[in-house]
């Protein structure tokens, strides 16, 4: 598996160790990109900072919390429009964002007084919210503000509130991943075990590393509840602060994004003997296998199988409609961390696309091991790419679509490569059986959008054909399909609604009661 040197990065020779091509007959022991290292000077990285990883990825999806950044107001930029971790309490944590608005004078004279004033003001402005997380930023960390002491002072004065301090300034790690680590460890150390929960089922899990992007958590929670499983807490999408203080009472930690949240699972295993089960919520086969495993763990496999059978029968014909039209399309799978391995194999198997490249902005070498293992031969794997490398890879690999974040995604669009938002999704949720069909539909729409016929034409010089009309998506996607596929009576396009999540919020569940006196934890 040879390392790959980008032409645009020849002046940064250290970059060569960060990219490999998966060669025939080679395995992970031949070469592995370096990862989770400080960005090399001279390369324009696409990473976020450790504050961003702690707050904008993991902290803020907690729904019933005032999330306040102690720093300049710009630090709290990512909110309603850029993040899509919705919640079932009218998206309180997305609609409202708080910062102490630190200025030069506070850097000179200290900002602790300002912080205390802001905390009290925020609680008074939202009297129904009694929980808060304070995020340290670079500026206030450098001047040495003791936010823990301020939080303690407020909690003494306002006994009905509880405050969590997240000390992860932007410089506290090579990338956002450093912040994931810090907030995981701080939560388990300072908050887990401080609330005793009400147990309502014989089967109790924490759902960990799940951020409810466009409703992912609610889709998965629906399956768990249909199995009679109590989701004691979700770390952290649509999760409640106090539920997460009670994580120690679960029987099993079901881990989705190991990149951002394996730390808390590992610590819970060591400290409370709660085992960790890694799952995939994406794709029919991985999801089915995941539900089965949880069912086997609790001895309720039949309940899992009933869901698998029902959902597969309902949605598989729709997935296969898209698969027929996506076969052989080339994909660059360029997400932030975990999706490179969640998706690398299953989009190939269940949608027929070819993954020609995987990259990760903040993944560790372990993520590359998983991602490279799961993609096919010939794929180019890149750690912490810069923008020029992304452009060079697209020019060389000529993908039909890339799955990435909105910043590199906009770069791709400028070179006429369609992109799908791998972080916040286009028309998610993408988890669950229906969600996977929604993802396939988004890929289809991205690749076959009629805009591509027009966007490459320069009306100032190109000839415009006047003898033929405009081609619709179906005319383009079906042109080479066999008649039996084109006219299939079993395959069909997505038939779900615009909103596949809200309907789940008022459901009732038959199995959710505690039967045995206790279940061994």
């Amino acid at each position: 598996m040879p390392h790959h040197r980008f032409e645009c990065s020849e002046c940064i020779p250290e970059r060569e160790k960060h990219a490999v091509v998966k060669g025939p007959g080679e395995d992970l022991t031949d070469a592995l990109p370096l990862g989770y290292l400080n960005t090399i000077p001279g390369t324009i990285s696409e990473r976020g900072c450790a504050y961003c990883g702690a707050k904008h990825v993991i902290g803020t999806p907690m729904k019933d919390v005032i999330h306040i950044s102690h720093g300049p107001v710009g630090c709290t930029y990512d909110t309603w429009q850029t993040k899509r971790y919705i919640s079932d309490n009218d998206n309180f944590q997305l609609k409202n964002t708080f910062a102490t608005d630190v200025k030069e004078k506070h850097i000179v004279f200290g900002a602790e007084k300002l912080l205390k004033q802001n905390i009290i003001e925020a609680f008074k402005a939202f009297p129904d919210i009694k929980r808060m997380t304070i995020y340290q930023t670079c500026a206030t960390a450098l001047i040495g503000d003791d936010i823990g002491a301020v939080a303690d002072e407020v909690m003494e004065e306002m006994p009905d509130v509880d405050i969590f301090v997240c000390n992860s300034p932007g410089f506290a790690g090579p990338s956002q991943s450093g912040g994931h680590h810090k907030i995981n460890i701080a939560w388990v150390k300072n908050k887990v075990g401080t609330v005793e929960p009400e147990i309502t089922s014989d089967y109790v899990i924490n759902y960990v590393g799940e951020y409810n992007i466009q409703g992912d958590q609610e889709v998965m929670q629906d399956y768990f509840k249909r199995m009679g499983i109590q989701v004691l807490s979700t770390f952290t999408g649509n999760g409640s602060y106090d539920d997460l203080r009670a994580m120690h009472k679960a029987h099993l930690n079901v881990l989705e994004c190991a990149r951002s949240a394996e730390y808390i699972c590992n610590e819970l295993r060591v400290k409370y003997n709660i085992p960790r089960l890694d799952i995939d919520g994406f794709g029919f086969e991985p999801l089915s296998s995941s539900l089965r495993k949880i069912g086997i763990f609790f001895g309720i496999e039949d309940r899992a199988q009933a869901i698998i059978d029902e959902e597969t029968a309902r949605w598989k014909p729709e997935l296969d409609w898209y698969k027929e039209r996506l076969k052989g399309k080339k994909v660059c799978l360029w997400p932030g961390g975990s999706k490179l391995w969640h998706w690398a194999n299953v989009i190939h198997e269940e949608m027929g696309v070819e993954v020609v490249s995987v990259y990760t902005k903040f993944g560790h070498q372990g993520d590359m091991e998983k991602g490279i293992a799961r993609c096919e031969e010939g794929a180019l794997a890149i750690d912490d790419p810069n923008e020029l490398e992304g452009l060079e890879a697209m020019e060389k690999l000529k993908p039909d679509v890339i799955f990435t974040g909105k910043r590199p995604g906009e770069v791709a669009k400028k070179v006429r490569v369609p992109y799908l938002n791998a972080h916040a999704y286009h028309n998610g949720p993408y988890k669950g059986y229906e969600g996977w069909v929604r993802f396939a539909r988004d890929i289809y729409n991205a690749i076959y959008s009629p805009i591509h016929q027009l966007s490459g034409i320069d009306i100032s010089k190109d000839e415009i054909a006047t003898d033929k009309g405009f081609s619709t998506q179906r005319m383009v996607s079906d042109v080479n399909l066999p008649e039996e596929v084109k006219n299939s009576e079993t395959l069909r396009q997505y038939t779900g609604g615009f909103d596949s999540v809200s309907k789940l919020r008022n459901k009732t569940y038959p199995y959710l009661e505690q039967r045995a006196a206790s279940v061994e934890a």
Binding site: D27, L28, T29, A31, L32, L34, Y36, I185, H251, L252, A258, E262, Y263, N266, E267, N273, I274, P275, R276, L277, D278, I279, D280, E285, P286, S289, R292, K293, I294, I296, F297, W341, N345, H364, Q365, G366, E369, K370, A373, R374, E520, A521
Partner: protein, 117 residues
Amino acid sequence: MEENVLKERVAQLEDHILKKCLWQFHSRAWDRERQNENILGKTMQILCGEPVAKETAEDRCYYADAVCLADAYKERFDWINTLNVAEIKEVMAALKERIDYVTITGSLNEELTVKQY
């Protein structure tokens, strides 16, 4: 079992684990050792029809992964259903050795030996 046959069969089983499973890639070497030992050990017991410990929560967690792996093997690789117990043990021992090499002893992941999580 002839060496080339054993090698080919182990490669198929390895490929399935690497493409479909996540348990083998925990973040530290000691975790990977524990995962490989328990899940592959239980998978072998299931395939051989031997009793499998599942009294503790930890055991049940390994067991859940092992059941799914054993089922996938039986479904995808017809040849495994034709082996006797000794042959299954031979293949699974070779598989364990190979998975340990790819994920632990031969791994280039520099974080495997970090002391804390």
